[in-house]
Assembly symmetry: C2
């Protein structure tokens, strides 16, 4: 059965892999440190020409700051390859011509269009505002939500539902608890913009111009990354780095298509198989289409 | 059927009423104004010698400040007649010899014993902290909760679950949303200390030294006052003042024993019947017990 187990473990590589979605925190880096082997693996991935997008729930920093931080860690990536909730939200607001009230981190303001002066907001957007989560700011957002509810068209968006994250001086509350607070007070349910919202994964897929069954997501969050990606038809690979917990290997709801030690191992397995599957795919391409 | 309806409406007066629990906000007063007729009704109640307790979820002010405010509005009441979540919590902490971390309004600190210096808290208490609900204060409370959870004995108390209240400059978030935020982040459920917790009603009953079926609660909150009181065997009377909404008259879960226009009407009906029931009760008392 050892062979069988090994075969099953590799089953996720049978279908072609033509693109990748990569989480950043916990996959490429932890805080300000690159995860061992991931810089080299990232270079191998780029050399392979397999297209990829970085898919992050980072909402404290604008993409440019994230790109610069990744560059300092030797991950060189173009800005348009980074998919994050704030620019996704800004694009949606632009598309739906909405004027948001923003309860977000001041640093990320630059991702949003400046609303015209004197125009009342018609939706509320909550991000990881940190110190900007004051009682006054929470009250302001709440009063706007209740006014929109009374008008009958309440739109309430959250850039994430994370509970907390680790900082050098302890655990810090993420935006999930503050979203929960405003939901409790207003009786409204916020629409999630980041992972694991299907719309967010689909926007990254659209950018790759690939169908979901040809793309693999690699992440350290069993629910947000792996479960979310599987929910829209991607394969989901869990790494044993970042926020990974041993109990994730027997998660009651989400079964990853593969569990690997780290990003480097995932890339090795993909590149090894991909040569085969790319070739067979090229062969298929030569078959005349009906 | 008019007679029958009238009779049914008066059914709550058939059993003896030997004590009362009264909500303050929305029953005796709205904000800084006495509700019409309530000062006189309160005097009639005191003259009747029917014992009563004030049962409030006020957690922003200490009882002494509340007593002084009531006194300015011509409601003269002794401090030991006021039951509020903070002193109930303080009594419980004293009884269980616990050291709390307090996330409460600075004004209400005086209700709690000062914890000894350098001793780690073994529970977290959240009140209506208002401006003191900073990101830093929320983080501190959260980190203590998680530490207690890891130790295996997490105790988390909330002085209320109110969503919001009205102030002259708009709606203000109550402590419920911030309780919800810490519950979401920690995965813990806070124990409610104020209304409608059965323990809170029972402490007021204990003070009256009366069984629940001889006591009536009068309040403006269909769930917190009326439903809560009924849950421990009291009769619950709803007033059409304060936060009362017409839809409360057909509430899907809570059926008040009576709905009256205001506190004054409730007291009139009780005093009118009480003379009868007190007499009949006195008569019953003369029947030799087996």
């Amino acid at each position: 059965t050892t062979n069988l187990q090994r075969d099953n473990k590799m089953a996720w590589l049978e279908k072609p892999i033509k693109g990748l979605l990569l989480d950043i925190s916990g996959v490429l880096k932890n805080g300000d440190l690159a995860i061992e082997g991931s810089v080299e693996a990232f270079r191998r991935l780029k050399a392979s020409k397999i297209p990829f997008r970085l898919c992050t729930n980072e909402t404290q920093e604008p993409r440019e700051a994230l790109r610069a931080k990744l560059s300092r860690l030797q991950f060189d990536v173009d800005l348009d390859k980074i998919f994050a909730p704030a620019p996704a939200m800004a694009a949606r607001l632009r598309q739906e011509k909405r004027i948001p009230h923003l309860l977000i981190h001041p640093k990320i303001n630059c991702e949003f269009d400046q609303p015209p002066n004197g125009v009342e907001p018609d939706c509320v957007v909550i991000g990881d505002a940190c110190e900007a989560f004051t009682y006054e700011a929470m009250n302001t957002a709440f009063n706007i939500l209740l006014k929109l509810k009374q008008k009958g068209e309440p739109k309430f968006y959250t850039l994430g539902r994370g509970k907390y994250y680790m900082e050098p001086n302890g655990l810090m509350l993420d935006l999930g608890p503050f979203t929960a607070a405003l939901e409790y007070a207003s009786g409204l349910t916020a629409e999630l913009i980041g992972k694991p919202s299907p719309r967010f994964f689909k926007s990254a897929l659209d950018s790759l111009e690939l169908p979901p069954d040809q793309v693999v997501m690699i992440g350290d969050d069993i629910v947000g990354d792996v479960g979310g990606a599987q929910g829209v038809g991607l394969r989901g690979v869990l790494v044993r780095t970042g926020k990974f917990q041993p109990s994730d290997e027997n998660h009651e709801k989400v079964k990853p298509d593969a569990i690997v030690d780290n990003f480097s191992q995932a890339i090795d397995q993909i590149l090894q198989k991909c040569c085969y599957s790319c070739k067979s795919q090229r062969f298929d391409d030569r078959v005349p289409k009906k």
